[in-house]
Symmetry: C2
Subunit: 331 residues, 2 copies
């Protein structure tokens, strides 16, 4: 294993420390609970949004804490749910008169930690709700999940509820918005290589030099099928068909189209996939009117990509277009 | 080779097509000359900025065309200089009464193409200057270079001259600013793996499972030394020492600190490196007051990173802080 690490056990804390050092005016880092919190939180005039999940999916979620997005991120170790008491502590740090929303990708471990944390926080008098995200069409149940998995589509739920919270909407309304966005968002991914968790020190699974895993999970969980590599045009078909037919998306729809890199794939290849997907959708009368190309929810150093569609209406579009401020500086 | 590609020969055009489809309001793509141009160019009230280089370094430079950055990018094929007539055509497309600045990383092939293009454009009556960027401290001369190479530090030159152009500065003043930023910017990189150019279909060089290449070039050119992998703390020393001692940067300096991924390294590891570099600089009295962590200038799918320092003064800081608009959407 060749990575930029020191002690594998310190991987997540060292990353979070770097993140805080790079953003001293906007973020605080609490090493005791592994929390990244907005420096200006809590704000009693808005609902606070917390996302928790295992680490290894960066920039999700620690690097999207900021105005109009998350108030706090509560990461676990790599691919592991955060401890329940860390989630409760996160809720304490950002508790607000308007309430706290916990966003959780639908994995059994995360679900247990966050449901328990919601109960404990509520018992302390914190007004709190939880919303589960399950946008992955690849598999019905999986290695770590009952029901669908939550993957890169969580980005759109976060953006929408973050914007709604910033606009002062109340907790019930924000839950409605989050559920609405989740209901029109679908994702499927493909892996070209396995990822290597620092503590494991070797690839999480075997995959041949000429093979791809279609429907891969963001923790390296198996997808729908292992098959031979095919050109990008065919890979886009393998991802788009199950997505489009799922809701379904249909002619006349306006969509946001995301091509998300899984950590080891260069942005050049992601734009190549974007162009193919855009044209294939347009040919079906489905119009991508908002584009997202880059890394949003990764799987460590895995070479691979996922495609996400979001069916847009005026309400969702306005929330996605709202201003936000996150640590990642592109210019 | 497993990549998201169709025909390797079509890799660059398909990427550019995807980029244009994702940004229909702000960018235009000319497949004949491989140009990406701002949709609102030319603007006779500002100097136009063009960067050319080989492809394979994305987001540099085709994905940083936009207000306050580049007016046009003129990419060659992967790791190859663009043809001279493509550069001349780029100058024609964005020619302005205030002039055109060609930005070029210092590689022999690019230098020849752009110097010839400058002559030809000038002969057509286009007011044009060329500025070479050479921020890489790793090697004095290299496989493709007489003198130092231009690498990720070009980002800061582009940002500064882009902001100055947007503010209406004249061509001489913009050249002065570009030269000033280049003179206070230094970079060094390290590779953990080789990159695989699509047309070659296999890694560009051999590197052992336990080896790193210190001082790597962005086209896979050899650096200063091949050595055994060492932990991140030591890797940061290997990169920072030659950078800091070069200008030198010294106690009391405020700097911008960039940790740039080379394409295959996840942002988690880049933030880990950032934290280490930030603290090591601070211990020497050199204060990083502006942070850049992510992918700015890559080498296809290479796992690796570079560190860049920019010595800041009020003029440079103001130019780096100026607003800009580029295709990459992070929220």
């Amino acid at each position: 294993m060749k990575k930029f690490i020191n002690d594998p056990k310190a991987f997540v804390p060292e990353m979070l420390k770097g993140l805080a050092l790079a953003n001293p005016d906007t973020l605080t880092y609490d090493p005791k609970y592994n929390l990244i919190v907005r420096a200006d939180a809590p704000n009693n005039d808005k609902v606070s949004i917390i996302q928790g999940s295992g680490s290894g999916h960066e920039p999700a979620h620690v690097m999207i804490v900021g105005k109009g997005m998350l108030d706090a991120a509560c990461p676990g170790d790599v691919f592991a749910a955060p401890p329940t008491d860390f989630v409760v502590e996160a809720a304490r740090r950002v508790k607000s008169d308007k309430g706290v929303l916990l966003l959780v990708n639908n994995y059994t471990g995360d679900k247990m930690a966050f449901e328990m944390a919601e109960e404990l926080a509520a018992a302390e008098g914190i007004k709190v709700r939880t919303l589960f995200i399950d946008d992955d069409v690849a598999v019905k149940d999986s290695l770590y999940t009952i029901g669908r998995r939550g993957v890169a589509g969580n980005f759109f739920v976060i953006k929408a509820v973050g914007a709604a919270a910033e606009a002062g909407k109340d907790l019930d309304e924000i839950v409605r918005i989050g559920e609405k966005v989740n209901a029109v968002t679908r994702t499927m991914g493909v892996a070209l290589t396995a990822c290597t968790p620092p503590a494991k020190g070797e690839p999480l699974f075997e995959i041949g030099d000429d093979e791809i895993e279609v429907g891969i999970g963001i923790h390296g969980e198996p997808g729908r099928a292992r098959q031979k590599w095919v050109p990008a045009n065919e890979i886009v078909d393998l991802l788009l068909e199950p997505i489009v037919s799922d809701i379904p998306y249909s002619s006349g729809d306006d969509v946001a189209l995301m091509v998300n890199g899984l950590g080891g794939t260069p942005i050049s290849e992601l734009y190549l996939l974007y162009g193919i997907a855009h044209e294939k959708l347009a040919a079906q009368g489905i119009t991508p009117t908002r584009s997202y190309v880059g890394e949003y929810c990764t799987s460590l150093d895995m070479a691979g990509a996922s495609i996400t569609l979001v069916k847009l209406d005026d309400e969702i579009r306005e929330l996605l277009e709202a201003p936000a401020e996150i640590p990642i500086r592109t210019f």
